[in-house]
Amino acid sequence: MHSIRPKKTMRIDSKTARWVNAWLLLLPAAVLMVAFTHFPIVGGFFASFFSTARQGRPSKFVGLDNYSYMLNDPVFWQVLGNNFLYAMGTIPLSVGLALLMAVWVNGRLFGRAVVRTAYFTPTILPMIAVANIWLFFYTPQIGLLDKIRGLFGLASHSWLGDPGTALACLMVLAVWKDAGFFMIFYLAALQGISPELEEAAVIEGAGRWYFFRRVTLPLLMPTTLFVVVNATINSFKLVDHIFILTKGGPDNASSLLLYYIYEVAFGFWDTAYASTLTVVLLAILGGLAVTQFAYLEKRVHYQ
């Protein structure tokens, strides 16, 4: 009897110790996550039901007022539409281009290292610096783009000053900046594909395109999922270039949801309405993440 008891205590102790150990390891990250991610999310959610305090007018509970204001705010709908266009334009283009570049520089190619570096360079440059460079590409009359068009006798165009082209200009910059980054992931995945598969395919007489479509592409699906999720997040969270290039103009034609949130929060100091918009942004991103993982996960083939 006596000989068994200490053994039992020890077993419980070691189990508890493992528990405590695990939680201690999780603690630093958890504290940071709660303090800087989860708490602000909950705080923002609550703030969206209150009015913004102004001098002489303290904040008070207003229910869904901020939300009904949002539904009647034409700028909100416009930036939401812009963001949708922006995502639809940049995600397929940057991912497609990344895949193309990766396949290209994965093959035997003279000066391969140089080309790889060149493709990757836009990624390492800070967005603000890049946007300033592109500002002078786009500047009408004296910018690079118009100088080139001038050689062919084409008239100068106010690229960033025309609501029809301003958003597209931002999209081109985003694709240029992101594609190289995504290429790295594809490149790594391509090098992980066993060469035996290709040899086997050649023996079986499969064409290169057939092999790419039926073997390479499915094997790249985990990477594609990762890249698409990242591209989607980027299309909602990267707005640095707007500050430099257009400030959202003309007439909000190139404004995106996050940029509008910044304007409302720090330009107008309407923190309640900014919280409301943030809740919407979070809902969109959360919804996207769930669908992507739920839908694409089924089509992803892990090796």
């Binding site: 102004r54 500047t139 006798g153 106010s158 000053g161 609501p163 103009g249 003309p250 309407d270």
Partner: protein
């Protein structure tokens, strides 16, 4: 026992010494500073600060350059809200109501109390003080101040057969001259535009000039009422739109504020409207003969004043406020104001500054430097209302939607007025 007493005495002595040095330690001032034009602005400011610190060893000033006016306001207010030490700033003169609403600043009347201080407060040009006064108090002191002026390329005038010493004085004249100045190449593409008025960043400012010239101000003195939908205002916006749509002397779409100076310097436009704060940068960059004149008139001449004022923040201690005042008085003294004006093109803020020997000589050699000052007689306060940033955005959006051809002036301005009305009602 004896040893313990010695220890206590030593402790007391140490505390006294430390306390003494703490009292003597430098007062540290943090100042946010906006940069809205080209040229080595930060270097000029840093040099002035160094000079001040040399003359006042007890005070240290740190300037934080935080982007354009809007960016700087955002950062300064964020610092105030986070209880970061920021004792004074140069911010937009028109941010006055916004800063008051946020309860961020103190009136100068509370800090500048001696007879000398009062004298100093009344030494500035009255038209520059218009954006400083509210509720019977003075909240801002003019420093980086400007008006809009017209820069024109004299060589282009000669080429077009116009008298290079007679810039346009009316709207009609400007449109007609601009038509002559607009140059096309063989395939019919424009290589040089007649005139360009920037419409990003500070669109409302340029527009306000047009409205004043057309005989109406955009808002009332109390900053709680706007007049965006009045016929004079609609007419002014129609003229701006017509420069591109009807006269074909200005490019379609919006025109970027930041790159316009470069376009003028490269001869891509014969006339530009811009802040006088760019004068020195244009002078240094121009490879052709250029002139500067007041803006043309419709019913009258006019330009809003613009630029930045010194503000003292509420969360500065009494000692810091006094040090801030000392610094501001130094920076706005006639000599420094004159030097600042010569280095940038911004107007010197007091008549005394224009009477200093250096600036007098400079103006005699380079008469363009006095155009902005001479325009004071026609200038009015810049658009400043409660919730300024938001109201300004309504107007900016309306202007841009008209200039890009999306809306008619009447519809766009009517919408902006409606939005502004809803926002400003509670302040009346």
């Amino acid at each position: 026992m004896k040893q313990m007493w010695i220890r206590v005495l030593c402790g007391v002595a140490l505390a006294v010494i430390l306390g003494g040095t703490a009292a003597q330690a430098a007062v540290e001032l943090n100042m946010y500073y906006p940069v809205a034009v080209g040229g080595p602005i930060t270097k000029v400011i840093d040099d002035m600060i160094a000079e001040f610190e040399k003359a006042n060893p007890g005070i240290k000033v740190k300037a934080v350059y935080a982007g354009n006016y809007d960016d700087t306001r955002v950062k300064a207010l964020a610092a105030v809200k986070a209880n970061q030490p920021v004792q004074l700033s140069v911010l937009f003169s028109i941010d006055l109501f916004e800063l008051m609403d946020q309860d961020a600043i103190v009136p100068f009347d509370e800090v500048a109390t001696s007879a000398e201080d009062k004298q100093w407060l009344s030494s500035f040009y009255p038209s520059l003080m218009q954006n400083s006064k509210a509720k019977g108090k003075i909240w801002g002191v003019p420093f980086q101040r400007s008006t809009i002026v017209m820069y024109y390329n004299k060589d282009a005038f000669k080429e077009a057969g116009l008298d290079p010493n007679k810039p346009p004085v009316t709207w009609q004249e400007m449109a007609e001259m601009a038509q002559k100045l607009t140059k096309k190449d063989a395939s019919g593409n424009v290589t040089r535009w007649g005139v360009q008025i920037p419409s990003t960043g500070y669109a409302y400012w340029m527009f306000q000039a047009l409205c004043i010239q057309n005989g109406l101000e955009l808002m009332n003195q109390d900053g709680d009422q706007t007049y965006f939908d009045k016929p004079e205002v609609v007419e002014a916006l129609q003229y701006w739109r017509d420069l591109a749509a009807k006269y074909k002397v200005m490019p379609e779409g919006t025109i970027d504020w930041g790159t316009l100076r470069q376009k003028f310097l490269e001869g891509a436009t014969a006339i530009m409207w811009h802040t006088t704060g760019n004068l020195t940068a244009v002078r240094e960059g121009a490879k052709f003969d250029f002139g500067v004149s007041m803006l043309p008139a419709s019913k009258r001449r006019g330009s809003p004043t613009g630029g930045g004022n010194f503000y003292i923040f509420k969360n500065a201690s009494a000692e810091e406020r006094k040090a801030s005042l000392k610094f501001i008085q130094f920076m706005t003294s006639p000599e420094l104001s004159a030097r600042w004006s010569m280095a940038t093109g911004y107007v010197a803020t007091s008549p005394a500054a224009y009477k200093t020997a250096t600036l007098e000589k400079y103006v005699a050699d380079f008469p363009a430097a006095a155009v902005a000052r001479d325009q004071f007689q026609y200038s009015v306060a810049e658009l400043a209302v409660h919730e300024n940033a938001r109201v300004k955005k309504f107007l900016d959006d309306a202007i841009q939607s008209v200039l890009t051809g999306a809306k008619s002036p009447k519809d766009a301005l009517g919408g902006a007025q409606q939005q502004a009305e809803r926002l400003l009602k509670p302040y009346r």
